[in-house]
């Protein structure tokens, strides 16, 4: 497996862990246990991110996190640009769809809390989907 693919796979799974922690944070933010769980989950998020950066520097050979740091050669760069282009187009469509959803939600006379919960859930789903899409596209273009 190439170094780029190892970095991509590692980042994919750490992102999934981060999204799980974020989901937990979103869920507890609407409960009475918020002031107990929020600091714990926040610390876990920070530790996860720091551990990810440490692992990438010491075990995956990443020296700097500037630019396309996981790219080793021209083929990796081409795959990255193709994937980024597709993901950016998807993100643009998502934002357009989100505008429509917000207009619908505003007409449903939801409370502020309900509106907030719904939007948080939609944005969380979009992040998870985007992570999946990035990984899937990279694997697809790497085979091509």
């Amino acid at each position: 497996m190439s170094r780029a693919k190892r970095i991509l796979r590692f980042t994919f799974w750490v992102n999934n862990l981060v999204f799980l922690l974020l989901a937990a944070l979103i869920i507890v933010s609407f409960s009475h246990l918020f002031y107990i769980w929020a600091p714990i989950l926040s610390v876990m998020l920070v530790v996860t991110c720091v551990a990810m950066l440490w692992y990438m520097q010491h075990h995956l050979g990443v020296k700097s996190f500037k630019g396309l740091y996981w790219v080793d050669d021209e083929r990796d760069r081409l795959i990255t640009l193709k994937v980024h282009s597709t993901v950016m187009i998807s993100a643009t469509y998502f934002l357009c769809g989100l505008l429509g959803i917000i207009c619908l939600l505003l007409n449903w006379h939801l409370s502020t809390q309900e509106l907030g919960q719904t939007l948080l859930a939609i944005i969380w789903l979009a992040l998870v989907a985007s992570n999946l899409q990035y990984y899937w596209l990279w694997l697809k273009y790497d085979q091509a």
């Binding site: 170094r3 780029a4 050669d73 021209e74 083929r75 081409l78 091509a144």
Partner: protein, 67 residues
């Protein structure tokens, strides 16, 4: 684009990993080029030709059979 990289590489008793190291690309890139799944940039094509002691014209073709 068809190429004769695999044949010439084997003639020189080079592995894909060794050729990749000489051309500063990954082994996966060399494999993709040999299997016609990736067309290299001009600079990489010239590097490959230089290491395999041939010309770019002799190394790559547009799809016609390479003799």
């Amino acid at each position: 684009m068809k190429n004769t990289i695999a044949t010439r590489r084997k003639q020189r008793k080079l592995s894909q990993a060794e050729l990749a190291q000489l051309t500063a690309v990954t082994r996966q890139t060399i494999n993709a080029i040999e299997n016609n799944k990736y067309d290299p940039s001009l600079s990489l094509a010239f590097k490959l030709a230089a290491i395999l002691e041939t010309t770019v014209d002799a190394l790559f073709s547009n799809g016609e059979d390479v003799k």
